[in-house]
Structures are given as C-alpha cells and as structure tokens.
Amino acid sequence: MSAEAGPYPGPDWMERYRSRVNADRELGIIGRWFTATFMLTFGENRHAVKVVEGRIAEIVAAPRFDVRATFGFRAPVEVWAKFLSPNPPPLYHDFFAMLMRVPAFVLEGDSLAAMQNARALHRMMNIMRETGAPDA
C-alpha cells in the first residue's frame, strides 16, 4: 500500500475481481435483474463498476463526470484493506457489518436501488473478499 505500489487496489486486482464475478455460478443464477453502475471508492481512487444482468461489463478507473453511477461504496484504503484481508477482523468481515459499525464505510447515492439488488450485490461484494488481498 506504499505510494510506490500504485493506487489501491490496482488494475490487476480489479481485473481479477471482474473475472471472478463473471465466472461466478451463483451470480449466474441470481444476477439476472442486477443491471446498474455502482462506484467503488478506495480512498481517493474511484472505479465505476458497470453491471449488466449480474456480470461486470466494464470497470472504468478514475471515471469523469460523464460516467453515471446509481450508488457506491466509499471508504479509506485502510478500511478496505481490513475487509479484503484473508482473516478480516470482526466488524470488517461484511459490508452490512461495516455499514452498521464502521462509520468511515459509507453507501452513497440511491440506497433503494442498492437494496433492491441486495442479494446479488451482497454476493458481488463477498467476491471482493474471495478475490484475495490486493497486496498478496
């Protein structure tokens, strides 16, 4: 996570994440209605995740304002690093846990749209953890 290592979590990790989501058997079953663009913000580092029917069609790094997002998750890098660690500490092991107990982890934008997709979104966020720690 040093400055020399580049922006967290880095393009290689984002690509691994996208591949993993798109190969996920469960999302293949439950993802049909999840079509939305949401933002993942790691500190100052933003990514727009464009989801079409439960698959990630594209991840736009550092999007400009012409990339529209419905909702997003934002937290400091140190919070994401705990979430993505192999053995996350209690309160950092699930995005709903962080929404309740970690004030720096926030859901931005249209929370109704996020919760309409709660099942597939929750699976997609858990796949972030299954992708492994970015520094590994």
């Binding site: 092991h93 709903f96 309740m100 929370s111 919760m115």
Partner: protein
Amino acid sequence: MPDFEPIAGRYLTVAIDGVDHRIFLEEAGQGLPLLCLHTAGADSRQYRHLLNDAWVTERFRVIAFDMPWHGRSNPPDDWWLTRYRLTTAGYLATIRAVWQALGLDRPVVLGCSMGGAIVLKVAADYQDELTGIVGLESAAYAPGRYNELLHHPAIHGGELCASYTYGLNAPTSPEASRRENWWYYSQSGPGVYQGDVHYYSLDWDAREDIKTIDTARCRVALLTGEYDYSCTPEQTEQAAAAIPGASLTIMKGMGHFPMIENYRDFRPYLLEALKQML
C-alpha cells in the same frame, strides 16, 4: 423404517393478553424444561441441531416455538389491520403464555439475539419461577438494527432480510449452515423482521431491570460470538457486569447465530452452559 428425527411438532392455541393465538412448537427429550426462543424474523427451525442432540435431550425436555407471525404460527385475527410491531411487554407476555400453557416447572429459558435479550427480562421478572436463563448474543440495550428499507414495496423483503443478516454469521462458519439460516430468513412474512427489530432496536432497554437479577435464585449464562456486530461482545460484557454471578463466554470464531451457523463448534460452549443449569 423411515429415518425420522426425534423431533415432534404440534400446534397449540394459547391466549396472549386475552387473544387466542395458534402457535406451532416442536419438542424432543425429557427432563428439565428448556424453552428456546428464535431470533428476529426467523423461527424454531434454528434449533434443529439442539433438538437432535442426544446429550441434551437425555437431560432436558427441549421445546422451541414459533412466535406469532413467524414460521408456522399464525398472526392473530385481524392481522391485516395491524402493523406488526413487537414490544418488550408483548414478547414477555407471549413467552409467559406458552410457558404457562405447557405447565413448565422451573424451566430454563434459552434465547438468541432478540431472544437472548428478552431472557434477561424473563430472569428479572420471574426469577423465583426459573431454574435459569441461557442468553445467546444477549444485550440489555441494542440500538441500530432498525431500517426503513427492511419493509418496502419496491424491495424483495425476504432477500434483503436474509442478506442483511447473513454477515452476522462468522465468516469461518460452514457455508451450508450460514446459507440454511439465510433460507429461513428469506421466508418471514412482509415486515415481520422489521417489526421484530423495532422492538430490539427501539423499545428494548433492560439496563435497569438486569440489576435486580439474583443468580442465587436464577442462574445466568451469557454466550456471545466474537463476530457478532448486532450484539457485540462488549454489549454482552456490559450486561454480564451488571449481573453478579452471571457466567460470560465470548465464543471464538462464532457469529450471531451459534445454534444454526456452526453447531459443532458451539456445542462445547452450550453444554458447559447447560451443565450450569442441572
């Protein structure tokens, strides 16, 4: 021979605050009555491992019932004219009504989450008629779970409630068991989980009541999982500190639903607590 489990399910009509309710309960075993209370928006299926545990059923008559509105218990008449909101008083009256209808003599009352909360009030109010309480994930005060989106016509409530509670399991608990609890949660009626957490988050406050519990009369065992973020270990520690003589156990690698998310690892903790009741 069919491969039956030793659990038997039955229906019972019981008056709660003067209103008849058709209640489903399941039981197994013989011995000291052990009345089990499920979590918010769930039902007695969460206790299937405990009800199937021979060590337990050789010593206890284990009874788990579905709260009104939950599982196979009906809501009362005119439910469609009612916004379901559990209250501390109503919850206590329900437990007392089932307890009396079954004629349970000096039972142990065991509850988890909202059930782990209310057992503290059961102990405070009825300590001379109890053997003890086992509180799983017990807090005397637990704000923060209530959310307006839990019951919303544009959201699939079953999927939201099940996903909202899924992370309350420890990440290390077996996936099949965590998913089983997800499935139970997906099946509650519209607004039922929200009505339960309305009690748990907004009505429940027993911080003064618990100071009256005398553990010489009513034994108290409190067990909480380290990954529980609804009732954190710190919240249970605060409750235990207000009850001299209560036993406190923080369960490593466990979340908010020990009896269903990981019974194998929960069992040694449970048996230690139950031995305190014998």
